[in-house]
Chain length 207, copies 2
DNA sequence: ATACAAACATACATGAATGATTGTAAATAT
DNA sequence: ATATTTACAATCATTCATGTATGTTTGTAT
């Protein structure tokens, strides 16, 4: 029964893959470790060997992927700061294109925002999303602050409102897309949405 | 112990209020009927008298409030169709102002979109939200179609993309606001967001 | 006044999920 | 070659929520 280290790592991965599927199908609280184990072709014992409990399985899934929020801003930072608003626009579109192709990321992301319960006293899993969102907001703020300093931010917008607006629209877009079962073209809608929004933030285009 | 009809209706309301609180604090699946009963000052027996099970409590909560999506479109329909885009703008802002004042609606709405799990095979509770969203999308489509026929829809947008864009942005705005613990001014951000978006949809303002 | 039904409370049975414990075969270290 | 640890499987006890069944009190109709 005892396997080599590579085998162990493989079963660990298989458990995570199975967990992503089961979580996606039944929601986190609706998924028992028994179901996950059965799907992965092991027993609960194997899961308890690799992970402390269900929460740790979720955490492991989360740490596997990068949130779109993080990716958008990283793109902007990576590509210089000549035109902050343009960078946000480009970054967002890039991220959407990548995410639209990656089914595993879609599943995990769906679990994070749809199959997980955000309550008043947050679970640590939900807390990570909140934290990532906050960080992303902070970075967005800085980028838009730069646009503001260069007088390229239209009169309709404040720095904070602009950052929130982008954050809300992007998260809402992804949430709706996943919730609707990907019933509309993500990149097409997203591109128009982000162009329209950022366009309205540019000086002279405000109204 | 037996109370009059008014007393019964009162306990029913108290159960629903307690349920909203408990669901909001612990999430739907994390809430037992025992907790709800204790909070309401009754026993589980009382809950089972008024409702079939936990799902029916949730359904009762849902049917109490109107989704913002529904309210926005109804506003537009109610106020004539001279300027469809303007009506959407006004309607959205109206709805935000009302929702920002009503704590109970906020709680129930938070339960619906954050404290509930959207899975692959949806629960009937989640299904209702999806359906309501779809209906709202259809109506939004019609409104924007009218704008399109009057040639007031900018070249950046298609009818479908515009409807999706508004839907995603509004839902995302509310979700972020609630998820962040109402950490930013909803009406202020929302007003700029919807003005910016709708502004970009108007002819001549597209880019 | 009596009979019945409404509006609950109380008690119990059931099942599911969890966490812990124990068993064990194979890999690895010595 | 032996000891030890790894990587699980199998079993078990406990908790916890649910659903149901039954009991009890009080309105209300006749």
């Amino acid at each position: 029964m005892r396997r080599t280290k590579e085998d162990a790592a493989k079963t660990r991965e298989e458990v995570l893959t199975a967990a992503a599927e089961i979580f996606y199908e039944n929601g986190v609280s609706g998924s028992s470790l028994e179901k996950i184990a059965k799907r992965a072709g092991v027993t609960r014992g194997a899961i308890y060997w690799h992970f402390k409990d269900k929460a740790e399985v979720l955490t492991a899934l989360h740490s596997e992927i990068r949130l779109p929020q993080e990716a958008i801003v990283d793109y902007a930072i990576e590509h210089g700061h000549d035109d902050p608003l343009g960078l946000i626009e480009q970054g967002a579109i890039e991220v959407l294109q990548i995410l639209a192709e990656d089914e595993h990321q879609q599943r995990v992301f769906a679990i994070m925002i749809l199959g997980c319960e955000f309550t008043e006293h947050l679970t640590d899993a939900a807390q990570r999303i909140v934290t990532a969102n906050d960080e992303m907001f902070g970075k967005l703020q800085k980028l838009i602050e730069m646009a503001h300093e260069r007088n390229t931010l239209g009169p309709l917008w404040t720095v904070d409102a602009a950052a929130r607006g982008i954050q809300c629209s992007m998260n809402g877009l992804l949430a709706e897309w996943l919730r609707s079962g990907k019933s509309f073209p993500l990149v097409d809608v997203g591109e128009r949405l982000i162009r329209g929004l950022v366009g309205s933030m540019r000086c002279g285009d405000s109204r």
